[in-house]
Structure formats: structure tokens, C-alpha cells
Symmetry: C2
């Protein structure tokens, strides 16, 4: 077991049930809770006023715009009620994930019934006026979302885009050995790809170290306008599918139109739920004995097959509603304008007999409230669902201890993520239970393999033999499945429950989670304005197989556009870093791991590359976020440069330095300034982004009137966008990634996109007024050098040595005369024609 | 069955096998083909020269950069060889989809062996020199991709991003009743979400009308650095999983390290393959009798469990290689520089005994070639895999017949996609077998329900009762699964095999397929430069639930950024249209359905909205792509306007017109020009995009010096990016979507983003120099009107009537005096203060 214990609200988790039959009183209490929750759900969707129906319902009591989703809601409410009962009996810390997150009214209702809602939102009081406000605010201008959202107490899972219920649930239970997540999976969302693969999460769960996910497949049979696939494949196939996913299915079915009494229904479900929790208790008891070496059990799950829109109107205008897709959204959409529908609505509301549930003041009866557990055992108040409350700072080593020695700028051939891996190894060692690395089979490929010195890849499927099962462990810090959706979903769940982590992926494939990033970014944006939601750790990306090095994936991987996607989001939550070498990467990542409520995108190549900054310089550079590399330039103190060479990204920076080297040698006296950008947001205006530079500072760096050649990692347009309002913007010329195809050799790739050293020199000659005529010869030489380099790769399959072996000259010992191999374009192209 | 027959290369498809045992000669031929394919695969990865090893292997024969993937390749080759045999015996038209697309060398080798490669690439001759060039070009600068790609004959499925093998395969067989797709699914890709749900495609396949997908799960056990989940869940669970997915699994297993003879292995697999094809033949025979009403059978699939890197070096440097993840990429990465490794490579290559396979000239022996079928029955030459060859134009009705009557601009309340639906209904009627609509449960929600008059949603899972199973049919033109990945993958497969279609989705969720769009866009870009690849129909999106109308999904859906994502791709393949009303939508879609090789993104809201252009005007407007709406402006002939109001998108256009209405009434004499943009790419420079406008034309529309207020559907920055080089760019002020949250009422949403009419008037007053002081009163009135409108929604839950009931005045009868309800800000805010 882990050396530190995570906070728990369960004094004695995983207790077995009492085994005694439930009293009629308990069953009745469950039923009345359910009725109350359903009543409050319908009220939210329809009612503007007359909340407890204490006067006859009129059209003016009905909202003018009826918005929301009824269909899934009664099922969600049913499950919430029953879970209350078992949580209270077993003191089992439980988080509720509502996969069908459009059932927002249900979660609001349930969390109002257990008291949390009014504790957090004091305006939503526990009386008639409070109920009125509760109803009115729902999906109303200035009110709350119609879906489960950050505003919903107890939620770590937003409605809207479907498919992530299980990956969020598993993320939540990793390293929370005492936590149960009841994860309701909609049969609509079950058709999505991400959900379909997320069942396999159980192969990466450790029964001892981690908590338990109880998937409840809410098989209510319909989507917006169609049946669901899983409801229509027959019981045998669905049973097989769940068994194939590694589960032991428990079936609970209520047929549409059944006349079974509520009492009988509740009793049957209570039995199923107790069985399932007893099975889980038995597995956890076994895990307590066997520890982390326990093999994967067949975890129970529930198939919960109930009618869509259950307890609503059976038929409306002669059309079947309950038990059909017609119950999905608002079944009586014209309740305000059709008297007959208004009457159906009134009967429907009255069917729950609110007067038996609420007292004269409009408060839920104590006897019903009793169903819920107390305090933090309420699913709505479980601290894991407000992860910031539990968040502990990482115990971080001093990243400076992992510094790469850089005796002179441009020395070395270091894989920056490999160095980061050494730092992360120590992070893992010091934080054995609240930090994980997620990636789709690429942790080693992305050069973080040092981490395997202290941990392994968590794996609870079969083991074959040590010679093939390297670094696989029953309980480890690295989580790998070949699914970016899974990695992102798990990490989100892990962060939302108050832990730390990072996601390492190929830049080309990170677009797979574009929409998941959207949803998480929105969560962060919204929670920034919800006082009771405490800040959580940032979501950190490390994109180290980037578009400039295709290598094994020649011609098939592509696109640095994730940065563009990210930058569309609110400035207050997104950060983009392009550290040019190992020490800047260390400094950047230390910063990221300390931060809160951000999405940090860090792009840093994994190939051996020259190092530029000592750790001291790196810290200063990263602290500023960008700056002049005076050792690389040829400025004259007190004078403006003739040209500024800017860069962001490791490969573009290397090419800028190589260009600066050429310029230094070949155009003596040219005043070149070299500026490097680590923190991309610094380019933006301080009014646009908290990291933005003031105009004055920007002007100081990039001048107000000199040509700027900016060599950028991604699509060039983003740099224009970020610098659009700057004085010198008309003179900023950006080179970057173009959709021009790709190649298998690095410099060839740079040339294809015109970000190469030779082209940069051409750019300088073309843009510094005095050079064009004087240096026409050098310009032609550069054109020829590109041609020669291209021809070389076509013939030899690797980059021309003068490029691949180039290192930054030790200018301290005067430029061209140091010992190392260096640029010699003159030799290559037949001498300087100037 | 369909009224038209699709082209077929099978004279008698779905024949049963002969039932006789295979001769030793045939088995030997299969084995020699396999050896040859493996030899050619290894050669591609490693060899620069000495292709047939006719001299001792030296380091100079080895490529300096070893790039590629060996691990999956021998399995792919094995399957290709065996499929050749059965295709030839049964004359069965078959397409091969290589899910593990990184096994590129295998597909290149196989298509070279059957002769197609040399037919298409005349430089890659069938002799020793040709083999040398074949090897050299692989993953080499100026050469071919290391993955299966558009360049690979017979491919409709690119390597790189994994997960779409089955959705592409199913897309290919829809409406191709005689086609078999052998879809190899990698056990790595099987872990992705999209693949995990794509098994369910069989619930949407019709056994009579559609062809057959034979999934072959290539269970070779390892990814880059990990075992695969499906290889490690035990045979029983995997069997259950496949049964749960609706398949009948057939197992074929070769244990790692087995000493079973190749002869025995081939014989066993040949038996399995014949069994499977006979089962398929029986199902198709049944379908021929029962027709399209046949219920879903349990389609066979094959679990193909063979060692990773099969036939490669068992151990390298004492580490297990075959049967481990170490065989994934290039097992002997230092073959060039380590003599010992060079020797291993030589032994490995020699183990295939190339001299027994190729003649003295380096040509494959005729006897081996004989294994492959002839002509178009070769999987590499199957015309379905070069869909443009089979593509027939759609028989389109005259879209003008579906025109909405627009007696005066601004009249009506029409749901534009509903009108498009009527047009599409006729498209479906006239093209019963080569046009489909794909969508995640939203065809009706997106207002295309008219199509159900002539077709239905294809569904081959269970049916319950007509009262809930509306519009479900065994064979239909509409394909719905709640998975954007499935919709996109199916449509791609359908288009790539020469048919037509569209994908209708919510704008907020289309980001789910960002990366799939990337891959398809890349396919189009590359095929534009491959002469033998014939153009295919465009991929058409219809995004009709857009970000300006949240409605039922209040606060939970978001982000118009798909357009930004799309515009990052090469101009020659992307088109973005924002038709402002029904007639422009009709004209736009007619154009899209006729186009080739594009991705067309069409955004058009589904809510009732005013109509602006008669069909004649709409056609003229769409032909130009943008233009002045003179009826909406107050220009004076021959004079420059004082201000230009531009718009793109339906809601922004409505607000511009409402603003123009206010300006017309309240600032008499102000010369306002109203410009609307349908084709977003028209804004760009003609040098940047084929649709781009010349600077002269742009200046004529937007002036060179007048303020332009541009009201845009998406993130504002894109308009700046597109107009960046225009003369008047400094005066273009863009309003658009901001990440500011959202609201449930439409006008409230517009106000939140400052794209509303009142704010536009404020913008005009602020930007037209003469107005600021004179119209301070009107400005304040607009500020107050916004406040009042906001307060109204907060109180009533719907937009203020003066906004929601506003219609464009019939200016022909002089502005303010017509009968309809209209803007009356003076009344609302207490009079004009000017």
C-alpha cells in the first residue's frame, strides 16, 4: 500500500451489508425521496411559479421557453435515492458520476434534497420561496445550466459532450483506495468511441491501491430520436459484451408498462445493490489480504434497464411517451399554450403528491431527508468531488539539481525530455500517491523512461514473462493505453479529485482530444467563478514527438494546430510553453507542476539537440518568458539592431542560431539581435493575457521599426494574431509550419517549410534595406546551399553533414577559428561571390 | 434490392469454396509468396543497395536512417497471401484494409508482387534495379511514406492515426452488395475509442443491400512498448467480447516459438479462411432469398493470433525480439554500425531464400505470381479502392424548385435546414444507391426529417414496435449512431469508394473529429498529386445546431472553432460556407454536392429565421460568394459609404440587418453599406485561396478607408487572418464569438458577445468620426436598450419582444410606417435624447 494515506470520509470502508431485509419503512422512504426528486426535476423544467402546486396550475406558472431533458432524469434520481441508503448503512465514501449529464434537473433535485444545495447557494432556501427560485433558475437566463455542470454539487463530470463517464470515474478512484464511484453510463453515450473503450479501464486498476468504479449501464433504450444499440442486441449479447469487458453483470429490469408496485421494484433493486456492494466488499477484503499483487477480479456492474421518462406521461396526444425517445427532452413542449397539455402537466406533477413530501413551509420532510447520509458522506458533499479541497502541493525536488551542464551555448546533444524524466522520477519518488503520468504507449518513446527506475506501468491484465513484460507492475505511476481519450479522461478525473499529473503524447495526435480539452477548459473557466469550488492542479501536456521530427512516421503524422486550438480559449486558463532546451524545459515543468487551474501545453522535442542555457540562465529566461540571447547576437550596446531574429520552439531556435552564425561570419558589422520565446503568451498584449508583455517592453525587445524574422514551431498565423497590436507588427515576418507535406530528414523538413538557416539568411538580406544589393552573392549562395542540401538528402537519406554536424561556435574564442565542425557554406558552394 | 446495380468486379460473388483440400503445391505457393513479401518488406526497411543479396551484405548497403515498422508486417503479408488464394478461387471482389497502417512495407511488397505497383509506378520495374528502387524509396527523402498511404495501391485507409479501420471498411461496403472488405484490426488500435465502438457497425449493415466486412483481429500482442489489452484478457473474455459485439469468432493461433511447420500453419489458416468465407457465402445466400428484410446474422470474424515480428530475429543482443514489443519498429537499429547486427540482418534476409523466389533478373517467379488473382480482382487494383474511378455524378433535382418564397427581404420564419431536407429528399429519391446521410442521432433534430418521406434510418438491431421505432428501416439512406467518429469514418469509407454523402452534426461537437478531418484532408491533398487516383466526391458537413442557439443545451455546448481548425489546412481542399438563409443554403449545398476533392463546411442554423434573398438573388449572391445587399443599406449612388456593416453567418447577419434598420431610422443621411459573406474563403487573397478575391474587388466592396464593422459567426480572429493583407484591414473591426459563457436566449447570447444590433450601432457611432458627438444620445439609448433587454430576459426567460418580434421593415413602403412590429427603442428607453 502507499506510504501516505489519502483523505477519506469513510471511517470503515468496504463494509459488507447487514444481510437483513429492508423494512417497509425504509422502502417507503426511498420511494418518497424518489418522488420528491422527480417532482423537483419536473418543476425545474416547467415551472416559473406556484412551485408546490398550492394553487391550480395556470399558463403563467409555466416557463415561456421549456428547455431541458426529462428522459434520463427519473432513472438518475432512482439510483441516487438507493445509493443514499447504502452509503448511510455502510459509511461508504461515494462519488456519483452522471454519464447522462443532460439529466441536470435530477442532480440538482437530489443535492437540494440532501441539503447541500442550500448550504452552498444560500439564496436557494429550504422553503417554498427557495423551491420557486430553484425551479426558476434552471436553464434560465442568468441561471444554471440544464446539464450537470461545475455548479452542481458533487459533480466531477459535466454534461454536454458524452463519452467520458467511465474514464473520469476511473481517474477519480486511482490512488483513492477507499472511494467508490457510482458511474452511471447512458446507453446513448455507450455508443461513443471513448466510452466503448473506457470499459477496459479495469485492466489498469489495482484492487488494493485504487478505489472501485461501479458502472451502472442506464439502459433506458432511447436517444434523441432513436433506440440505442445496446438495448437492441438482446440480453445474451449484452451479457457477453459486459463479460468481455471484464465485468460480472447484475441485471435489474423494469419493463415499460409494468404494473409492478413501487415497493416491489425498490425492494428488488435494493437487493441487487446490496449484492453488488457485498461482492465489491469481498474483493476489497481479498485485496486487503493479498495487497497490490492481487490479480484482476471480475468487477460487478449493473445493467439498469428502466423505461425512459419513467413516471412521466405515458401518452401525449396519443403518442407513446414514457418508454420512447419522445420522453428525451421536454415531453409537453407546448404546456404553456395548449390547455390540454397544461392539464397533463398538472396531473403529472400531482402524481408525485408533493404535499406528502414537503411541509407547509415547503421544506422536505425530515423523515425523507433521513435517507441521505450526513455531512461529507452525502454524494453532493463528498470532498473528492471538489478536489481542490483535498489538493496537497507536490513535494518537488529542486529542479536545478537535474540541470544539464552547458559549458558553452550550443554544446551537447541532449534529449530534453530524458532530462525531464530524471526530474519526474524524483517527483514520483517523493509523491507516491498523488502524481501519475498518462500516455498512449509512449512514455518511453517520449524519453521519460528514467521514471521506470522508481515505478512502472500499472497493468492488471495478464502477465506473460519478465522478458517481454518489462516495467509492467500491478501498481505503478505510469498509465498507458493506446487511447488518447482514455489518457485525457483519466487525467481529468485524477485532477478533479485533487491530484497531480501530466499527459505525454505525440503532437500530431493530440487533436484527438480537442473536444475533451474544450470541455475541461470550460470547467476550469466556470469554476474560477464558483467560490466553493477550490482550485485544482493544472492539466499539463508534454508534446515531445512533434511535427518537426517525423522519423519513424515519415509523411504520416502532421499538424501543430493543437496550440491554435488551445489559444482560442480564455487567456486566464491557457498557457503554452516552447522551451528550447533541457534546462528551460526543467524550469518550465517545475512551474507547471506548481500551478493551478491552467491547461499548460509544453512542446519540447525528444531528439538529441544542442543546449543553450545554463540553469541559471534558463531560470532567468523562463521567468521573463522571453528575452534577448545576447551571446548569440551581434548587437552594439546602445544602438538598435539592424534586424531581430526571433524564435519559439526548439527546431526553429536551432535554425535561428545557425542563421545567426552565418550572419556573424558573412556579414560583418550587421547588428543582429536574437530573441527567444519560451512562454508564447508573453507575445500577447498584457490586456489580452495575464502573461502579456506591455507594449513598452515588447518594443524594447522587438524594436519599433526594424525587420523581425520570427521562426516559429507552429502555424505562422498565430504569431501574427498574438502580436497584432504591437507597434512593430508590420515588420514582423513569420516563418512556421506550412501544409506542404513532410520528409523523413529533419533539415529537409525545415527547408520544406522555409524555416531553415539558409532561408532565414535570405530573409534577412531581403528585409534589411542595405543588404539586398551588397549581398546578392551571399543570397545566391544560400539558395544554392539549400539546393545542395536537398540533393544530398535525396541521395544519402540523411541531412548534409555541414548541417547535421553544425554546432554553435565558441565565439568566446573568436568565431570561425574554434575546433568543432561548423558551417562552411563557402566550401560547399564554391566560395563567397560577394 | 436497389434499383441500380453498383459496378462489380465479381462475376459471381459469394461463391462457396470447393470443399477440397488444398494441394501441397498451393500451400507451398502461399508460403513462397509470404516469404517473398517478407523479404521485400525487410529490404525496404533496411537496404539501400544489394537488393537481392547477390553479394555479401556490407554497411554501405544499409540505409543510414532506419525508419519503419516491422512488427505487424509479416502478419499483414500472411493474410494478404491467403486472401489472394481465396479471391482467385472464388472470384470475390475484395478490398484490404490494413488497420495497422504502419505496416506500410508489407502492403508495398504485396502490391509489388501482384504486379500493380509496377503498373502504376513505371520506375519501379520488375527487375533487380526495380527492387533496389523499391527499397530505396521507402521512408526516404523524396520517397514514399513508411505507412500505408494514398500512394499505396489498393488502399482506402491511411496509417498514422489509428482507430478507423472498421468504420472505413463498413463505409466501403454500404451499397456495395458484392464487395468484401477484409479489415485487419491491430490489437493496438483496438484499444482506441473509435475502434472499440466501430465493432457495432454490424447493427447498421443490411445483409442484402450492403457488402460484407470480415474483421481480422491481428492479435500480435504488443504495441510500441507494452502488451495489448486484448491479448491479455484470456481467450474466454475475448471470445465473449467478440460475441458481445455481434460476431462469431474463429480463432487462429500460432504460438510464439512454436516449431509447427509452415506447411501446417498455412493449411490450418486456409481451412479457417475457407470456413469463414463459406459462412459468409451462406449468409449472403440467405440474404438473396430474404432480401433486405433479413435480420442481422452473427457475422464471422477471425482472431488472428501470431507472434509480433514473426519470422524475424528471435533474440537480439540476448533480448527477446520476435513475440515482443521490441519487434515493433526497426529491430536492428544499429545494423549499419554494429558488425554483429549487420550479420544478424544478413542471416535474417537470407532466411527467406530470395534466390528461390526471384529469377536471375530479379523478377518474382511466375509460379508465385500465380497466387494472385488477375486484373481488378487483385486487392491492389480493386476499383472500389480508387473510388473516383467508379464515381457517378449525383442526379440532382433543380434546387430552385425548392426555393422559399421571399416576397420582401426579412420576411418569414423559416428553418433553413428543413428546406434543405426537402431538396435532399429528392436527391435520395433520384440516387437510391450512392448517396447517404450520416449523423449522430440528429438528422431530425437538425431538421432534415423530410428525408423520412422517402427513406429511413438503417437499423439492423432489434425492432420493438412501430409506435417507438419510427422511421427505422432495414435498408435506408440515413445512418445514425451516437458517435461522431463512426459517422465520419463511415462517410470517409463511403466517399473513398466512389459515392456521395454528408455528415450533419452539432457545431459544438464536431471537434470530436478534428483529427479525423486532418487525416482525410491530408488524403485529399496527397491524392491531388497522384495521377492514378481519381477525384472523389467532397466530404460535406452540415452544422446546423450552432453555437448561437444553445436552447435545450443551455450553457453546456460551445465553440465555433472547427472552422479555424479547417482553415489551417491547404486552401486547395477546404471550403467554408455560412449561408444566411434557406435559399442561399440550397444554392450552397447544390454546389457542394457537385464538387470533388474538397471538404465543405456549411454552417446554417436550424431555428426559424427571417429570409432575405429570393432564389434568383441567392444564386447570384452564392455565385459571387459575397456581395452588397443594397436593399439593406442606405448608400448614395456613386459615393463611398460612411460605414460598411459586414456579416457572415445567419445570426450575425440578422443582427446587422436590425442595426441597419436602426441606423436608417435614427441617423438619417448616414450612408450605410451592408455586405454579406457566404463563402468565407472569398475574404482571403486570391493568392492564398483559389476562391480569394482580388484586392481591387475587395476594395470595391469594403472600401479602402471607411470603417468596417464585421459581425461574424465564429472567433473574430479568423476574419483578421483572412483579410490581413487588405488595404482597409486597419479599419476592419470584427465582432464574433467570445469565450464569455453563454445563455439560453438567443438575443441575450448575441449581447453577451457584443454582436447584437444595439452594440453594432454603438460601434458605428464610435467609429464614424462625425457621429460620436452628435449621436451621444442615441449611443446612450443603445446602452440602455441592451440593459433593458438583459433585464427582460432575466425576468421573463425569453427575449424582449421588440427584439424577438423584429422584422425587416418593408422599406419599399417607406421605413418606419409599415404595419409589422418593429424596432422602437425610443418607446422602450424613454425617447431620443439627441
Amino acid at each position: 500500500m502507499s506510504t501516505t494515506t489519502t483523505p477519506t470520509v469513510s471511517p470503515t470502508p468496504w463494509r459488507a451489508g447487514s444481510g437483513t431485509e429492508l423494512s417497509a419503512e425504509t422502502i417507503d422512504r426511498i420511494d418518497r425521496w424518489w418522488r420528491a426528486a422527480n417532482y423537483l426535476s419536473v418543476g425545474q423544467i416547467y415551472l416559473l411559479d406556484n412551485p408546490l402546486l398550492r394553487e391550480p396550475l395556470t399558463r403563467d406558472h409555466v416557463k415561456p421557453r421549456l428547455l431541458g431533458h426529462w428522459g434520463t432524469t427519473p432513472g438518475l434520481n432512482f439510483l441516487y435515492a438507493h445509493l443514499n441508503r447504502v452509503i448511510k448503512e455502510r459509511d461508504q465514501s461515494t462519488v456519483y458520476v452522471a454519464g447522462p449529464g443532460h439529466g441536470g434537473p435530477g442532480l440538482v433535485a437530489s443535492t437540494y434534497l440532501d441539503g447541500t444545495y442550500s448550504e452552498l447557494y444560500s439564496d436557494i432556501t429550504e422553503d417554498t420561496d427557495g423551491v420557486r427560485r430553484l425551479f426558476r433558475q434552471f436553464s434560465f437566463p442568468g441561471g444554471i445550466p440544464s446539464h450537470v455542470a461545475p455548479e452542481t454539487p458533487g459533480s466531477i463530470h459535466e454534461g454536454g459532450e458524452l463519452g467520458y463517464a467511465l474514464s473520469h470515474a476511473y481517474g477519480a478512484v486511482f490512488d483513492n483506495p477507499d472511494l467508490l464511484v457510482a458511474a452511471v453510463v447512458g446507453d446513448g453515450e455507450a455508443e461513443t468511441g471513448p466510452l466503448a473503450t473506457s470499459w477496459h479501464s479495469n485492466k489498469l486498476l489495482n484492487p488494493a491501491q485504487d478505489g472501485v468504479v461501479l458502472p451502472i449501464l442506464h439502459l433506458n433504450g432511447y436517444k434523441i430520436a432513436n433506440p440505442t444499440i445496446l438495448d437492441r442486441i438482446g440480453r445474451d449479447e449484452l451479457e457477453s459484451l459486459m463479460v468481455g469487458y471484464g465485468h460480472k453483470p447484475h441485471w435489474f429490469e423494469v419493463a415499460d408498462g409494468s404494473d409492478e408496485s413501487h415497493e416491489s421494484i425498490h425492494r428488488r433493486f435494493a437487493t441487487v445493490l446490496d449484492e453488488v456492494l457485498d461482492e465489491i466488499a469481498a474483493i476489497k477484503a481479498q485485496a486487503a489480504v493479498e495487497g497490490e499483487d492481487m490479480a484482476r477480479p471480475a468487477w460487478p456492474m449493473i445493467v439498469f434497464r428502466t423505461p425512459k421518462g419513467w413516471t412521466g406521461p405515458e401518452y401525449i396526444d396519443g403518442k407513446k411517451t414514457v418508454g420512447s425517445w419522445r420522453a428525451h427532452q421536454v415531453p409537453l413542449a407546448s404546456a404553456r399554450d395548449t390547455p390540454e397539455h397544461l392539464q397533463v402537466l398538472e396531473s403529472w406533477l400531482k402524481s408525485y403528491a408533493a404535499d406528502e413530501l414537503f411541509d407547509d413551509d415547503g421544506r422536505i420532510l425530515d423523515d425523507i431527508r433521513e435517507l441521505a447520509p450526513a455531512g461529507e458522506l452525502r454524494m453532493s458533499a463528498n470532498p473528492h468531488a471538489n478536489g481542490g479541497v483535498l489538493l496537497r502541493d507536490l513535494r518537488l525536488p529542486d529542479f536545478r539539481d537535474f540541470a544539464v551542464d552547458v559549458p558553452a551555448p550550443g554544446a551537447g546533444a541532449v534529449e530534453a525530455p530524458r532530462v525531464l524524466g530524471q526530474f519526474l522520477t524524483e517527483v514520483i519518488r517523493r509523491n507516491p500517491d498523488n502524481f501519475r503520468i498518462f500516455g498512449p504507449d509512449e512514455t518511453a518513446s517520449n524519453r521519460l523512461q528514467a521514471t521506470f527506475d522508481v515505478t512502472g506501468k500499472q497493468w492488471n491484465a495478464e502477465y506473460f514473462s519478465p522478458e517481454v513484460d518489462e516495467h509492467l507492475v500491478r501498481a505503478g505511476r505510469v498509465m498507458e493505453q493506446l487511447s488518447e481519450h482514455q489518457c485525457q479522461g483519466w487525467l481529468e478525473g485524477y485532477l478533479l479529485t485533487g491530484r497531480h499529473g501530466l499527459f505525454t503524447s505525440y503532437e500530431a495526435f493530440i487533436h484527438i482530444v480537442d473536444s475533451m480539452f474544450n470541455q475541461h477548459a470550460k470547467w476550469l473557466k466556470v469554476t474560477n467563478h464558483i467560490p466553493w469550488r477550490r482550485p485544482i492542479a493544472s492539466l499539463n501536456y508534454l508534446l515531445s514527438s512533434h511535427v518537426w521530427r517525423q522519423d519513424h512516421n515519415g509523411f504520416s503524422h502532421q499538424d501543430p494546430g493543437f496550440i491554435d486550438h488551445v489559444v482560442n480559449k480564455k487567456a486566464e486558463i491557457v498557457r503554452v510553453y516552447l522551451p528550447p532546451d533541457a534546462n528551460t524545459l526543467l524550469s518550465t515543468y517545475d512551474h507547471c507542476l506548481r500551478s493551478r487551474q491552467y491547461v499548460n501545453v509544453v512542446v519540447a522535442g525528444k531528439q538529441p539537440a544542442p543546449q543553450f542555457l545554463t540553469m541559471e540562465q534558463a531560470i532567468a529566461h523562463c521567468t521573463r518568458g522571453l528575452g534577448i540571447w545576447d551571446w548569440a547576437g551581434t548587437e552594439v550596446e546602445g544602438e538598435d539592431p539592424d534586424v531581430v531574429l526571433g524564435s519559439a520552439g526548439d527546431v526553429p531556435t536551432l535554425e535561428v542560431l545557425a542563421a545567426a552564425d552565418i550572419l556573424r561570419n558573412r556579414i560583418p558589422g550587421l547588428k543582429v539581435r536574437v530573441v527567444n520565446v519560451v512562454d508564447l503568451m508573453r507575445l500577447q498584449d498584457e490586456k489580452e493575457h495575464p502573461h502579456g508583455l506591455s507594449d513598452k517592453d515588447f518594443d524594447t525587445l522587438f524594436t519599433t521599426d526594424r525587420p523581425v524574422i520570427f521562426n516559429y514551431h507552429g502555424y505562422p498565423w498565430l504569431i501574427h494574431r498574438l502580436t497584432y497590436r504591437r507597434t512593430n507588427h508590420p515588420n514582423i515576418h513569420v516563418r512556421g509550419y506550412k501544409e506542404e507535406g513532410t520528409t523523413t530528414t529533419p533539415f529537409d523538413m525545415a527547408m520544406l517549410n522555409d524555416i531553415d538557416r539558409y532561408h532565414l539568411v535570405i530573409d534577412v538580406i531581403d528585409r534589411v534595406p542595405s543588404l539586398r544589393s551588397t549581398y546578392a552573392g551571399l543570397r545566391q549562395e544560400m539558395v544554392d546551399a539549400r539546393l545542395a542540401a536537398r540533393q544530398y538528402t535525396r541521395e544519402h537519406g540523411e541531412d548534409i553533414p555541414e548541417v547535421s554536424e553544425w554546432v554553435w561556435p565558441d565565439v568566446g574564442e573568436t568565431g570561425t577559428e574554434n575546433g568543432g565542425p561548423q558551417y562552411d557554406a563557402a566550401a560547399a558552394t564554391g566560395g563567397d561571390n560577394e
